[in-house]
Symmetry: C2
Subunit: 343 residues, 2 copies
């Protein structure tokens, strides 16, 4: 088995730097479109055979060192009682928005083991089909990020309603986060039980918060999830606080083994600030995949160089790969990371 990824997560020696790519199963791949066109995006998430198929595609096509479950951070909100729809060209729509006590009270905290059987079935199929070729990563959204979708009713530019609740009705905000956290914690534990060999927590919107607000309204819930997971499983846990350069010291207290970094911060700066408490994952600008080969090699080489002092390094993009990226450029990046990091 190629366990380079798991070793790097744990800070153990590796023969080369492992790489996987956020959204590596997705719209930039023609093979993905073939499967996706059989139904809606949510249909695909909920059809284990197909979800497993698109999860495996980038392992075969790109040669990455880990597979990540094909799903969406919002699917566990459905069994809590939120109506979820993905509207073409607009993104997710969650209704009704959760903005008052009645709405928070109405949310249920279901048995997550039973609520999302299609996720665990996808994981079981994947473990069988991957046959230990590469490890499988499970994932969930971080409670703050999930709360923004619930409160705003979808994506948001300023998070007006979320912050309004934080600032004007903090008890209500915390009651909502408690429910989301309980579900997320059990959801991730169930993924590990089903076979996920690492878990990533995506805090996509953490970077919208001032450090004091991140410390009060986001981080404690991530810490609670990770500490609960530690009771149940020893799989590596990756925490990705997107656009979180100024939150790094706080995020290092999350309890995660690995912190994801976006491209705004140089990894050597991150290492200087938090030392060897965590390994790092990242962090090339996704659009840098458009660079001509020599320049792409130079950029990858620089990131590898900056990560040399890290306890462990998993190469990744600083955010998801974009739909118009030529797949051959992603494949080239994987080759370059492997070649340039070989020791």
């Amino acid at each position: 088995m190629n366990d380079t990824f798991l070793k790097a997560c744990r800070g153990e020696p590796v023969a080369y730097t492992p790489i996987w790519i956020m959204r590596q199963a997705g719209r930039y791949l023609p093979e993905y479109h073939e499967v996706r066109k059989l139904g809606t995006f949510l249909d695909l998430c909920k059809t284990p055979e197909r979800a497993a198929e698109v999860t495996i595609q980038p392992v075969d096509i790109l040669g990455v060192d880990a597979a990540i479950l094909f799903s969406d951070i919002l699917v566990p909100l459905e069994p809590m009682g939120v109506d979820l729809e993905f509207v073409e060209g607009k993104g997710p729509v969650l209704s009704p928005p959760v903005r008052d006590k009645a709405a928070v009270d109405r949310l249920s905290v279901p048995d997550m083991e039973e609520a999302l059987p299609y996720v665990y079935e996808t994981i079981r199929i994947l473990r069988r089909e991957l046959a230990d070729k590469v490890p499988l990563i499970g994932f969930a959204g971080a409670p703050f990020t999930l709360a923004t979708y619930m409160i705003e009713g979808g994506s948001s530019r300023n998070f007006w309603n979320t912050k309004k609740m934080m600032y004007q009705a903090p008890a209500l905000y915390h009651a909502l986060l408690d429910k989301i956290t309980a579900c997320t914690s059990r959801y991730l534990a169930a993924q590990a039980r089903a076979g996920a060999q690492a878990l990533q927590i995506f805090d996509s919107w953490a970077g919208a918060l001032a450090p004091c607000d991140f410390a009060a309204f986001a981080l404690p819930y991530v810490q609670r999830i990770i500490s609960e997971l530690r009771q149940e499983t020893d799989v590596p846990i990756i925490y990705f606080a997107n656009n979180g350069a100024t939150l790094l010291e706080l995020a290092a207290d999350s309890g995660a083994d690995v912190l994801g970094l976006d491209w705004r911060i140089n990894i050597d700066d991150a290492v200087r600030r938090v030392g060897d408490r965590v390994a790092f994952q990242g962090n090339m600008d996704p659009i840098a995949l458009l660079l001509p080969e020599n320049d792409l090699a130079a950029r990858i080489g620089r990131i590898l160089e900056q990560a040399k002092g890290a306890k462990g390094h998993i190469f990744n993009l600083g955010h998801g790969i974009l739909p118009d990226t030529p797949p051959e450029q992603a494949r080239l990046a994987v080759e370059l990371v492997h070649r340039l990091s070989s020791r």
Copy 2:
């Protein structure tokens, strides 16, 4: 004259911390809507008496320590040959997008003194009507930020086309930036000649760039503008690289007197990193204006405390005030900053 703002920009002693608010002349004020409804947004920018009126409104209503010219960073692109329209609910539309050599070649570098007479007329009216009550800030967009609008044809989420040009056609990108920089430099110099007493350069999208790309594709043009302005005027220059926490050391080399900070970074951290080379402006989350009075006072007090070691501090929000903000909360924040910082 209340020159507290200008003194703080220069790092001179002040009796209290001055404050102004980005977008203080704008949609959250009913008085603004009264004037705005007389025509389109661009009409308002181009009608000096009205633009001056809305510029002065927040000085009277909020009691801020500086006025900032009512205009838009995109107006100087019109005389370069770009068609500019503000579409309700969508934002600016610039056409045609500038993506190839022919489009860059077509752009002109007009005499900026003649090209935007309405801006300079607005400034002259304002200096007369403000009667030295508070200083007047002029402004422009930074070349990288202006280029993103030209290349993308409007606002953008990922800056795909901009970065594609940077990575795949750097010579073309630099040719475009040369033209924008020449215009912006002359535009700001003309604002100072007309009477602007400080100049702010808004790099709204700088935070989309990795540090190496900021250093190669954005900062040099800001440096050129500031060094050219220094030949002509000694007004304080503020550079605001939005979401630029990791760019701070680089931005401190811009030559600006003051760096604007968004709320993601604690000011004491900024001070630790660049020392007393610059003063700082910022940095409360705009939505924190929704905090109840005691919490608002605590948050303002903390920011003032964090800024104590700075060479100079101008209080501001970390981004523009949002349209749904109650004006009385903005007035309260101004009072609190003045009261809590009085020495």
